[in-house]
């Protein structure tokens, strides 16, 4: 079977892998000239289904539960399994209680334990939550590793493929995110920064709760830190606004004053594709299967969505009902 995958973001590359391992001859077509620039490129890369459950519905947890295993198996060495640390300033300790009551899979940590986990945060926070089973990766390295793996498997990757001809393919998978034509889709803008400071070392993603400016910091290699991310109901891909940058930097500074001396080595903005329920969808329309609406959970949800899409392609089962659809119906009944 010859399958064309449109889009080389995290959804496109994961489904290309799932299809190729099932024996399909896969071509990935991307309109950009390289892997960068899409929403996946600006992602945090947290594989944190327990934490995400604070604001996301149950299907996000169910679909994302095994994401870290998938990434570990497919891109060995990319996944760091050191958990997530959630902290709040003493004044905002109510936020911590709220977060704890909305999530599971965590344990309380006190000042001493925080100091053991993250020595650089010693003395800065009295209490926190550790989600020991969570993981993270560097999206750009993981995407690149996945790309290389696909190339080695014989998947053809075409860049600057403006209007790839559909002839010659048995099926198409549309993974074009915000570029897809779908009235239900909306964009939720996210802005991020990458800071560099040799004065801070973190072993795991840290979320700083705040009633107005919640923040996460994901450590990358070489003392670089991804600081994210705003959530704005906007499709704009324009540069980071001064206000967002102030909020992100203010929160980073509150987490550790050394971030005040950090170099800002990159700013970026991506637009997350989302359906009205903020849940992802795999849908079959004729010979095309669409994966979209991964919202703020691209790396977390892509493996499960890719598997569903690959099964749709191979089972020709266009009426398959997806887990979250039934769940939603139940809730609204």
């Amino acid at each position: 079977m010859r399958v064309l995958v449109k889009g080389a973001g995290v959804a496109g590359l994961t489904v290309a892998f799932e299809l190729a391992t099932r024996g399909a001859a896969v071509t990935v077509a991307e309109t950009r000239h390289s892997l960068g620039g899409n929403a996946s490129w600006f992602a945090g890369g947290m594989l944190a289904p327990w934490c995400e459950r604070e604001s996301a519905e149950q299907p996000v947890f169910d679909l994302g539960r095994n994401a870290a295993d998938w990434w570990d198996a497919v891109t060995p060495g990319q996944v760091t399994r050191t958990g997530t640390l959630v902290v709040a300033a003493p004044r905002d300790v109510g936020e911590l209680e709220r977060f704890a009551s909305r999530t599971s899979g965590h344990r309380r940590v006190d000042e001493n334990t925080i100091a053991l986990l993250e020595p650089d945060l010693a003395g800065r926070f009295r209490s926190g939550l550790l989600f020991p089973d969570e993981a993270h990766l560097d999206p750009r390295r993981a995407i690149t590793a996945l790309h290389d793996k696909l190339a080695a498997m014989g998947v053809e990757l075409r860049f600057e493929a403006d209007a790839p001809t559909v002839s010659g393919f048995d099926r198409q998978i549309d993974c074009t995110g915000m570029a897809a034509v779908d009235d239900r889709l909306r964009g939720v803008r996210g802005e991020m920064l990458i800071l560099h400071t040799p004065d801070v070392s973190l072993s795991r993603p840290v979320r700083l709760l705040h009633p107005r400016f919640p923040l996460y910091v994901v450590p990358r290699t070489d003392h670089r830190f991804m600081i994210g991310a705003t959530m704005i109901e906007s499709q704009s891909t324009g540069p980071v606004t001064a206000r967002s940058m102030m909020e992100l930097l203010g929160a980073a500074y509150a987490l550790h004053p050394a971030f005040g001396e950090a170099g800002i080595i990159e700013t970026g903005a991506g637009v997350r594709p989302a359906f009205p329920d903020n849940l992802p969808r795999v849908e079959a329309h004729g010979s095309t299967v669409v994966i979209n609406g991964l919202y703020r959970h691209g790396f977390l949800l892509a493996p499960a969505m890719a598997r569903q899409a690959a099964e749709l392609v191979f089972n020709q089962d266009g009426t398959k009902e997806l887990a979250h659809e039934t769940d939603r119906q139940r809730r609204s009944d």
Partner: protein, 257 residues
């Protein structure tokens, strides 16, 4: 029924639309609450002109009246500009006017508020000013042309509930004919019922529902509480007494003491 600027509204609960887990849950919550007015912020969504159009059309599709707001504006100029933009985007002259004076408490800058209210009222807006419970400020807002007042009962998003009952009572007493909507600070349905029992005309809230574990059920609970509080106010409540009064008549009993 309750009337604002000549519009009859079946519900006395007004809902904010921010911070919901998803637009779908927001839509379900709006339905469950029975609200007839939702507020929507323009400021943050403005990045890139009309880039927020998609979210706004979701708000329009809720089928309620829309009360745009100037949340996050810290100056008169910002608030006025945002109000004008909102009139264009939503085709309504209604505006919930916020001019924030303190970053931490999100307390209104009442001086800027009065000035912005005057400018907008002169321009034909129906202004819903987010204010404190200060009576003098309230008078100035009415002089500026406001016909509705929206006092806080505690800081925005604090969930503290009415922290100064005396001030709220005195506000109701001073402005018997002005629609008063408690805006901001409500945390639980009992808070909403409490201020409705004081005779406030309506309540506006967002965080208490949007950030609840189950926003849809919480919206329904608030809807009931608002109705209960209003009905109680209209029914004439008993004043507290120091002595016990049995609910069964004592006349005719062997001993009467």
């Amino acid at each position: 029924m309750f009337e604002l600027f000549g519009t009859s509204l079946p519900s006395r609960l007004l809902l904010g639309t921010a911070q919901y887990p998803s637009p779908a849950i927001l839509a379900d919550a709006v339905k469950a609450s029975g609200t007839s007015v939702v507020t929507v912020a323009l400021r943050r969504e403005m990045a890139g002109g009309r880039a927020g159009e998609k979210f706004w059309s979701l708000i329009r599709s809720l089928g309620t009246r829309i009360l745009p707001n100037t949340a996050g504006c810290h100056s008169v100029k910002e608030a006025v500009t945002t109000a004008k933009m909102a009139r264009e985007v939503f085709g309504t002259s209604w505006i919930k006017l916020e001019v924030i004076g303190n970053h931490d408490t999100l307390q209104p800058d009442v001086f800027g508020l009065v000035e912005a209210a005057r400018i907008l009222c002169e321009d034909g807006f129906s202004v819903f000013p987010y204010t404190t419970d200060d009576l003098v400020v309230a008078e100035r807002l009415l002089e500026a042309g406001c016909q509705v007042l929206m006092p806080w009962c505690a800081p925005i998003g604090s969930a503290l509930g009415p922290v100064n009952m005396t001030a709220l009572r005195s506000m109701r007493g001073h402005f018997p004919g002005v629609p008063l909507i408690v805006d901001a600070g409500l945390g639980r349905p009992s808070h909403a019922a409490t201020v409705m029992e004081l005779g406030f005309d309506a309540v506006l809230l967002n965080t208490a529902i949007a950030k609840a574990a189950d926003p849809v059920s919480m919206a329904r609970a608030f809807g009931k509480a608002v109705d209960a509080g209003r009905e109680a106010f209209c029914s004439g409540m008993l004043e507290p007494r120091d002595v016990a009064v049995p609910s069964t008549p004592t006349i005719g009993r062997a001993v009467f003491s």
